[in-house]
């Protein structure tokens, strides 16, 4: 990935740009006000100075003591920052100046110093304090200059003085012009500009570093983990989990990813199961066809010969062997075909003890060779179950072979027991019909969960709207969510058809205290559940009070090597094998598939080097 394509880089660039803009705007106003303050301070100072000079000179002017005036100006002008001081008469002639070269020069009314009063090309009589100052540059490359003009007005003492230099009609007699250099002000302003620029650079660097770290922790690391996980899954490792401990959006994504992999591996397991059955079916079909044809030749000719040699007992006996053994081969091939057809179960009512005994008969030889004692403990009056005899036989065959392998050559015990048990309908009973309070069906035949029609509800959370498909097995909580929400918050549920609410605000769950939702089950009461979907509370009074469901429980234990606890959850996955080269890793996944097809459950419990027990529950009333 190019560096500009990275989220971190993009984020840092965007934030830096924003910071620069903000700091620039801030600095502009800050520096401007700072420099305005400085200038007004200088202005005030210059005005004061100008007024002081004027007042100082008034007496000298009245006496027409020109030398004295010139000396005062020169002395004052020595003060630092003052560029020059000059006095102009009414005609614009410079009559006093600290710069002696300017003496006697006539100033144009459009000149910088006169502009304030003569901007309209007309003489101005009065000038307010603010208007007296102006800032200008003599040359474009020189520093700015502040000029203060102070008009010298005509007063009674002026026209009544002995020199009679002025008449009483005149208003303004001349102008005192003080020019102050703003170099210092500019230097200070530039300094603060530099400070701001430095501040901006430092803050951008600091923000970039912080962002970089944050992006790394919050985004890059989890994204890399996710990426790695997808790669693992892509190459077929469906047991990889992210197991993120984060609670934010990316944590949710990771959890959802983990969940997806679980579902994916389950789906693959089922797919694999049917795929395997289909390919074995094709193989068996091919083999059966190929073997049955030559067998037909053998069987017809041998049975025909048998017919013709009725009078030859010796030959008859030999031929009978051929016919008998060919018939046996016929049964074997038939068995192969029966096995291949197991993908479409042929359910019949079966006696579980009979299936187990049949299985044991098949492998009694192996048990003997491995010095294995078999203990049978069948319960009395075990009801018959609706199941496929062959499939259930395959389950026990696989389980017993596994046990034999686990025990090894040293010998041991395999014990099989059966009994009738009753299990709570919770987690087993299917909700087949559900409606809203207005009688609209909530069942969704198209959207299936674990192969069963789901219950479709309209859901609202904050401003989000969507659908939630509930798992139709009472007590199962693998729902399908078509809406984003926080798990520990209340979701509002409605009928998708009429929009009536399914939530009863007045009733709360005994577990978390959130309001309940309820589904009406025609003729069967109500199913209630929690509107917080992280709370797995459900209640179906009618079914709960009707009592438990009858199951046949089969336990198969062996004293073999056992299974390590960390592998216990994996052993029903396809391709998982502890037998190395010896096993295909398919036996237990096939078993799982068969038991699942019969709506039963299989679980395993193991203590290393002591005992392993498989427990199977098959429902009695299932068709």
């Amino acid at each position: 990935m190019k560096i500009f394509e990275k989220i971190g880089t993009r984020l840092i660039l965007t934030v830096s740009f924003t910071v620069i803009v903000i700091i620039s705007v801030f600095a502009y106003f800050n520096i401007k006000s700072h420099s305005d303050n400085l200038i007004s301070e200088v202005e005030r100072h210059a005005n004061q100075l100008s007024e002081t000079v004027k007042n100082t000179m008034q007496f000298d002017m009245l006496l027409n003591n020109r030398e004295h005036i010139a000396r005062v100006i020169k002395t004052v002008a020595k003060e630092e920052g003052i560029k020059y001081i000059r006095i102009l008469n009414k005609k614009g002639e410079i009559i006093y100046s600290t710069d002696s070269t300017q003496l006697g020069l006539m100033l144009d009314k459009k000149a910088e110093s006169c502009y304030a009063c003569h901007s309209e090309n007309e003489p101005l009589q009065k000038l307010s304090i603010i208007e007296r100052t102006r800032i200008f540059k003599l040359h474009s490359d020189s520093s700015s200059t502040l000029g203060v003009i102070n008009p010298i007005y005509n007063e009674q003492s002026c026209w009544s003085a002995d020199c009679h230099a002025h008449t009483s009609e005149q208003t303004v007699l001349g102008v005192l012009d003080i020019t102050v250099n703003l170099k210092e002000v500019e230097r200070l302003t530039n300094n603060s500009k530099m400070d701001v620029a430095l501040f901006a650079i430092i803050s951008i660097i600091v923000i970039a570093i912080i962002l970089r770290i944050l992006v790394n922790i919050l985004i890059q690391k989890p994204v890399r983990e996710l990426l790695q996980a997808t790669n693992y899954v892509a190459v077929g490792n469906l047991s990889h989990r992210i197991n993120s401990s984060r609670k934010d959006e990316i944590g949710q994504l990771s959890d959802s990813f983990d969940n997806m992999i679980v579902k994916l591996s389950e789906a693959r397991m089922q797919l694999f199961q049917s795929d395997k059955m289909a390919s074995i079916g094709r193989l068996a079909a091919g083999v059966a066809h190929e073997i049955n044809n030559p067998l037909t030749g053998v069987l017809t000719y041998s049975s025909f010969l048998l017919k013709r040699v009725k009078n030859n007992p010796e030959m008859k006996a030999d031929l009978e062997v051929i016919v008998r053994e060919t018939k046996r081969s016929r049964e074997i091939v038939k068995g192969l075909l029966d096995f291949s057809r197991q993908s479409t179960p042929k359910k019949g009512s079966i006696e579980i003890a009979e299936v187990i005994d049949n299985t044991i008969a098949v492998i009694s030889n192996q048990l003997k060779i491995n010095h294995i004692t078999l203990e049978k403990n069948y319960g009395k009056n075990i009801p018959q179950i609706m199941a496929d005899f062959n499939q259930i036989q395959q389950v026990f065959l696989n389980l017993i072979i596994n046990s034999i392998d686990a025990i090894g050559k040293t010998g041991g015990t395999i014990s099989i027991s059966t009994k009738e048990i009753f299990l709570s309908p919770y987690g087993t009973f299917q909700i087949r019909t559900a409606t809203c309070q207005n009688g609209h069906s909530l069942m969704d035949e198209k959207h299936k969960i674990d192969g069963l029609p789901s219950i479709k509800l309209k859901a609202k959370y904050a401003k989000n709207e969507g659908f939630i498909h509930l798992n139709p097995i009472y007590g199962n909580h693998q729902h399908h969510y078509g809406i984003q929400f926080k798990e520990d918050e209340i979701i509002h549920l409605f009928c998708p058809q009429c929009g009536v609410t399914l939530v009863d605000e007045n009733k709360t769950t005994p577990t978390c205290g959130a309001p309940i939702y309820y589904l009406t089950i025609p003729d069967n009461g109500k199913v209630e559940g929690c509107t917080k979907f992280n709370c797995n509370w459900q209640r179906w009074d009618v079914v709960d009070s009707a009592g438990d469901i009858k199951f046949v429980e089969i336990k198969l234990s062996d004293t073999g090597s056992g299974i390590e606890p960390k592998y216990l959850s994996k052993i029903f996955e396809p391709f998982y094998s502890t037998k190395g080269q010896k096993g295909t890793g398919l036996g237990l996944s096939v078993i799982w598939g068969i038991i699942n097809n019969h709506k039963g459950k299989i679980s395993v419990d193991s203590t290393l080097n002591e005992e392993t027990t498989f427990t199977i529950h098959l429902p009695v009333g299932y068709e």
Partner: protein, 265 residues
């Protein structure tokens, strides 16, 4: 043209044709053979046959397609189907398509002979039925009653009120056997499966005829009267002559594989 044979043998394997021919000859049937359905159709143009025995799985055209062509050509020669891929589905399908018998490979001399006997007998019966040349012949094949379902011409089933199903053997099957010797039934609590052998009838010549079950289920009751008097079977095959009462496993889906008797009359 106008050559007449008893049996047309169709199979893509030489050894099977030879074996079938040999058994046919021993029973004094004349045969002609074809290695594929196309060849067989040519033979059918030139000659007439009383019976056809064909393999199902053959290259290019299978037995079912062949049967379909015969139906289109209105050739009504009874057909026996056989295959090495002898699944229950194939058995049910063959009988449903109109084959008079299904015999899975490999078979013995006796098994094939029984089927041949029944096939030739069936052929005679149907010839009489369709031509009615001998009107004075007391030919009375009782059709199976409406609301019954049948699996080919082997067996019938009828749903009773209590959720049980009665099954029995069709009159045509019984007639094609000829004289009944004894009957070999299964016992209560055993399971029978659609397309599998449900009972065996032994004729007076000791040939064993297998009847395929129309439906799967658990046998709850066996008609004892049949065991006492086998002639009851021929006398009233659809009512008093029922064989088993069963609890069906999947009645609805399996009924779809059967032929309704309502259209027979």
């Amino acid at each position: 043209m106008n050559k007449k044979y008893d049996i047309l043998v169709i199979d893509d394997e030489e050894v099977i044709i030879n074996a079938i021919n040999m058994i046919a000859k021993f029973n004094e049937y004349t045969t002609a053979s074809a290695k594929n359905p196309t060849e067989a159709l040519n033979l059918l143009n030139e000659s007439t046959f009383n019976l056809i025995i064909t393999d199902i799985m053959m290259p290019k055209m299978d037995g079912f397609q062949f049967l379909e062509i015969l139906k289109q050509k209105k050739i009504k020669t009874p057909m026996i189907m056989t295959t090495g891929y002898s699944t229950l589905e194939n058995a049910v399908k063959a009988l449903n398509y109109g084959a008079i018998a299904f015999i899975p490979k490999p078979f013995t001399f006796e098994e094939l002979t029984s089927v041949f006997k029944r096939g030739i007998e069936y052929s005679k019966i149907s010839n009489k039925l369709f031509s009615r040349r001998i009107s004075e012949d007391l030919l009375s094949i009782i059709p199976c009653p409406p609301k019954y379902y049948r699996l080919g011409f082997d067996s019938w089933m009828n749903e009773e009120f209590e959720g049980t199903v009665k099954i029995g053997v069709t009159d045509l099957f019984l007639n094609s056997i000829g004289s009944l010797g004894s009957i070999d039934l299964m016992s209560v609590d055993e399971n029978i499966y659609q397309g599998n052998t449900a009972l065996k009838i032994v004729d007076s010549n000791e040939y064993i005829h297998q009847v395929l079950s129309p439906i799967s289920g658990k046998i709850v009751s066996v008609n004892q009267k049949i065991l006492e008097n086998i002639n009851l079977l021929a006398k009233d095959p659809y009512f008093e002559g029922w064989i088993y009462k069963i609890i069906p496993f999947s009645l609805i889906s399996e009924t779809n594989n059967l032929t309704t008797c309502s259209l027979d009359i």
